[in-house]
């Protein structure tokens, strides 16, 4: 067994944690690969040889005739795709409980959530040493599960990684990123998946990716972001701030970023507006699930399929987004949200004049138990994203790192860098990884 992964162990782990929506049909081929060269793709990334269902039953059976650029580039770099990771349907969720294909279970405690929407990716990154999981973040879908599963999660600048072959949630917000145990692996894989791609025009305006040349000296902690934290997260976050100052010699400054409070509302307006148009194509024709009887009016045919195969959260977001786009509401919601996005970007830029990075906890609490999630109202779930949404709305690169453990569950902190300055995140990842010792659960049951 040369790659450090046995097919039997993989299947056993997946039976327990459900992190994969689909595993490679030829896992024995894995043995051919040298260690640490296996990777997974979130189920909304197209990969030949696999279905691409984006966690949705409406895409059951969709086998894309092409590879997503990020997947193709990982494969060309000699890496083996071992499976497609489980996710909230189309990325709609914070706990990975909205998947059409089972719920992934937290590596630290199976009664708890992996976070979402790249929950399967975070669990795979945590459970499989040397594994690189490609995740996707629209509003925090990398930072959140990275935090809950105790791994590193990098979300690059919007436009850094080609979105060709990504099944869209919200095109102006979607970003492909990396989840792994090891900072060195991020340094290796980020250049592989980055760079202009003519198949995605929004990736073609990026400056070259720099990996070195800047060191983090000051970080800014917005006072608005450290309210409403659970006790455990607050305690661990404060300890981490002290470690940054004492051991890494980084100056920690408290700042005020009042416009962050508008980010969540603006995000949900923009994301659902775009999502409701992206999801219009799923109607039981051409790809994915086949609809019912075609001997009926097409409106009935479409509605029947969509009613039967979209999950509750997808339907909720389609309705929200369609409402925000309607004549009469468009200016009040959609156009206003676009203006807020600009406001948030200026707010970050103002802070970046004096600080290298902005730092907050990644999530206000540790991975919740499934029972707790069931009792949460949809709005409470949306509000849980208030720390991850601003950077996603601004399109700024960010990184979630494990920064402490509360009652055995990992706590994450999230650094945000200026546009295109991923190297600052790589610098802090390297230095933090030396100063802080990560814990990973024993993989064997």
């Amino acid at each position: 067994m040369s790659c450090g992964l046995s097919p039997e162990k993989l299947v056993r782990l997946n039976d327990r944690h459900h992190m994969f929506a689909e595993l490679s049909s030829d896992l024995s081929a894995l043995q051919e690969y040298p260690p640490r060269l296996h990777f997974s793709a979130k189920d909304n990334l197209c990969a030949q040889g696999f279905q691409a269902r984006a966690g949705s039953r409406i895409l059951e059976g969709y086998r894309p005739p092409f590879d997503a650029t990020a997947v193709a580039r990982m494969r060309s770099a000699g890496r083996a795709l071992i499976g497609k990771t489980n996710m909230d349907e189309f990325g709609f969720g914070t706990f990975c409980t909205n998947s059409g294909f089972g719920v992934p279970r937290n590596p630290f405690e199976i009664g708890r959530s992996c976070g979402g929407s790249s929950g399967g990716a975070a669990a795979a990154a945590c459970l499989l040493e040397g594994h690189m999981a490609l995740g996707v973040s629209t509003g925090g879908s990398i930072s959140c599960p990275a935090s809950f599963c105790g791994v590193l999660g990098l979300t690059p600048t919007y436009g850094r990684v080609s979105r060709y072959g990504l099944i869209d949630y919200a095109n102006s917000l979607d970003k492909i990123g990396l989840l792994t145990r090891d900072a060195k692996d991020i340094r290796t894989c980020l250049p592989i998946i980055s760079g202009p791609d003519p198949k995605d025009p929004t990736s073609c305006v990026q400056p070259p990716l720099a990996l070195d040349g800047r060191h983090v000296a000051q970080v800014a902690v917005p006072e608005e972001a450290i309210k409403n934290l659970s006790t455990g997260v607050e305690e661990e976050f404060r300890k981490a701030l002290k470690l940054l100052e004492d051991q890494l010699g980084i100056e920690v400054r408290s700042v005020s970023m009042p416009s962050l409070q508008y980010a969540l509302s603006a995000y949900y307006v923009l994301a659902t507006s775009e999502a409701s148009t992206n999801l219009a194509r799923y109607c039981g024709m051409r790809f994915g699930v086949k609809g019912g009887s075609i001997s009926q009016h097409f409106n009935d045919f479409f509605s029947e399929t969509r009613s039967a195969f979209f999950g509750t959260e997808a339907k909720r977001r389609i309705l929200l987004g369609t409402y925000a786009r309607m004549v009469g509401f468009r200016d009040r919601y959609y156009m206003k949200a676009l203006a807020v996005r600009q406001l948030i970007i200026s707010e970050y830029n103002r802070i970046f004049q004096d600080s290298d990075l902005v730092l907050t906890p990644s999530m206000p609490f540790v991975a919740p138990k499934f029972g707790e999630i069931e009792r949460m109202k949809p709005l409470e779930v949306y509000q849980a994203d208030y720390l991850t949404v601003p950077a996603n709305l601004a399109g700024t690169p960010h990184l979630s790192l494990p920064c402490g453990y509360h009652e055995g569950m990992p706590v994450g902190m999230q650094f945000v860098a200026p546009h295109w300055e991923e190297r600052l995140l790589l610098d802090i990842a390297d230095r933090w990884s030396c100063a802080f010792s990560y814990q990973f659960p024993e993989a064997e049951e």
Binding site: L45, C46, A52, A54, L59, Y62, P64, P65, F66, A68, R163, Y164, G165, L166, I167, D168, A170, N171, S172, P198, K199, D200, P201, T202, V205, S273, E274, S276, T277, A280, R281, C283, M285, R286, F287, G288, F298, N299, F302, T322, R325, M326, V327, R330, Y334
Partner: protein, 451 residues
């Protein structure tokens, strides 16, 4: 009566608007790819040629052109629309607030934008057992939409406007003449207060028919004291009537948002880089004004061919423009099909020379016609070319003066010395040239040698 048109014309690009699929195909669903089928994970990439064509059209229609444009998603559910949204331009068209002269009247142009075409639905089978087949070859074909103000006042004028617009578009972007059948129009027409929209009328002839039917329907209703209701109607090509579409009881809400995958495009610089082009009808207007000739005749010339207009202008510079017109629409036009492929600068000069000789009464009308017929028949120009004959005359004179140098010397003191040369040339050329012509040519050559 007020009529406003929304005209959709296919842009003659080789590939589609957002993918590299060809715009022509032999069998249904053969020119398709993940992008124009809206497969999850696929993405649009703009065909810049289509944008350039859109800008050229907007510029021709004297529109204001923004520096930057973007695209929008127009969401509605229909089986021929793979993504269930159409990528079009909503709050950022290529051009706005233009105008276009037709028959001396200025027709307002509200906007010009580009968008993708949906697929095509074909209904087959017996009534009651009909099946709908969808061909996505058309999905993603680039279209330009031109929206006029309700400035047209009759169905005839609407047709004339569209006919002329299509002529100009053929020249600007290279559409083919079949656009007269394929052009698709949504027309708004009001006789009284309320307007009615007749949607998706295909072809010039159907447009005029649909508008005539609708105008008379509304007139009759108003005369009978009935109210015209605001609605969308469809034109039945076979029965030549419009009927209520009865599809929507409410105004459709397309929920436009920006298309986030495409970004913005600098059309300002495209507009500045385009050379102004003179379209056929604009040329006809200029020719009519400049040469003081009849506009309709100028139009006839440019509608035949811009090459014929070139020939007319070459003639009008040398002979009286009325005569140039008569010869262009007469002998030249009647030989046009065989003449056109032969046209090049020497042949053009031959034709001009023939007409010039007729104008100068050196040859008769019928000889001129014969010579143009001969040029069109591709006969050797030396047999008929006046240009060549001119040089023949010069060579006879030169040869005589070379052999008799004293003629030039004597001419200084006695101009009659030229007579010997004139006599020799008249005799040698055997009446091919009139005396006035020979006298001028001899004197010119002697003066030159006197230097």
């Amino acid at each position: 009566m007020k009529i406003g048109l929304e005209v959709h014309v296919q842009l003659p690009t080789r590939s589609k608007l957002f993918c590299s699929c060809p715009t022509t195909a032999e069998s249904p669903n053969s020119a398709i790819c993940p992008t124009c089928l809206g497969f999850p994970g696929s993405r649009p990439i703009l065909n810049r040629r289509a944008l350039e064509m859109g800008v050229a059209i907007a510029q021709f229609l004297q529109c204001q052109i923004a520096d930057e444009v973007w695209f929008s998603r127009k969401t509605y559910f229909y089986p021929d629309l793979p993504k269930n949204f159409q990528i079009t331009q909503y709050d950022s068209p290529v051009g706005v607030n233009g105008s276009c002269l037709v028959g001396g009247r200025s027709i307002g142009i509200w906007r010009v934008h580009i968008e993708e075409d949906p697929g095509r639905i074909k209904r087959v089978g017996k009534s009651g057992e009909e099946v709908s087949l969808i061909d996505y070859n058309r999905s993603g074909i680039p279209l330009v939409e031109i929206v006029t103000a309700p400035d047209l006042t009759s169905p005839e004028e609407a047709r004339a406007f569209l006919t002329e617009l299509l002529v100009e578009l053929r020249h600007i972007i290279g559409t083919s003449a079949s656009d007269e059948q394929s052009v698709r129009v949504d027309a708004n027409l009001s006789v009284g207060q309320e307007r009615v929209e007749v949607k998706n009328v295909q072809g010039l002839r159907n447009l005029e028919r649909a508008l005539k039917f609708e105008a008379s329907r509304q007139t009759k209703m108003l005369e009978a004291g009935m109210k015209v209701i605001r609605e969308t109607r469809r034109f039945d090509e076979e029965r030549k009537v419009t009927h209520s579409a009865r599809e929507k009881e409410f105004e459709e809400d397309y929920g436009y948002i920006g298309e986030p995958d495409l970004g913005t495009f600098d059309v300002g610089s495209i507009a500045r880089s385009l050379k102004p082009i003179e379209t056929p009808l604009r040329r006809a207007q200029r020719m009519a004004g400049h040469y003081m000739v009849d506009f309709e005749k100028c139009k006839q010339i440019v509608l035949t061919s811009m090459a014929m207009a070139d020939l007319f202008e070459a003639l009008a510079e040398r002979v009286d423009p009325e005569m140039a017109m008569n010869w262009t629409l007469g002998p030249i036009s009647s030989n046009w099909n065989t003449l056109l492929p032969l046209l090049n600068p020497p042949v053009t000069l031959d034709i001009v020379t023939v007409v010039k000789h007729v104008a100068d009464r050196e040859i008769t009308d019928s000889e001129g016609r014969r010579r143009i017929g001969a040029i069109a028949a591709g006969e050797c120009p030396t047999d008929i070319s006046c240009a060549v004959q001119d040089s023949l005359l010069d060579s006879i004179i030169s040869k005589y003066l070379d052999e008799n140098p004293q003629v030039v010397k004597d001419y200084t003191t006695n101009p009659r010395a030229a007579n010997s040369a004139i006599g020799h040339v008249m005799k040698t050329a055997q009446g091919k040239y009139n005396s006035q012509e020979v006298v001028e040519a001899v004197k010119k050559e002697i003066e030159k040698r006197k230097g």
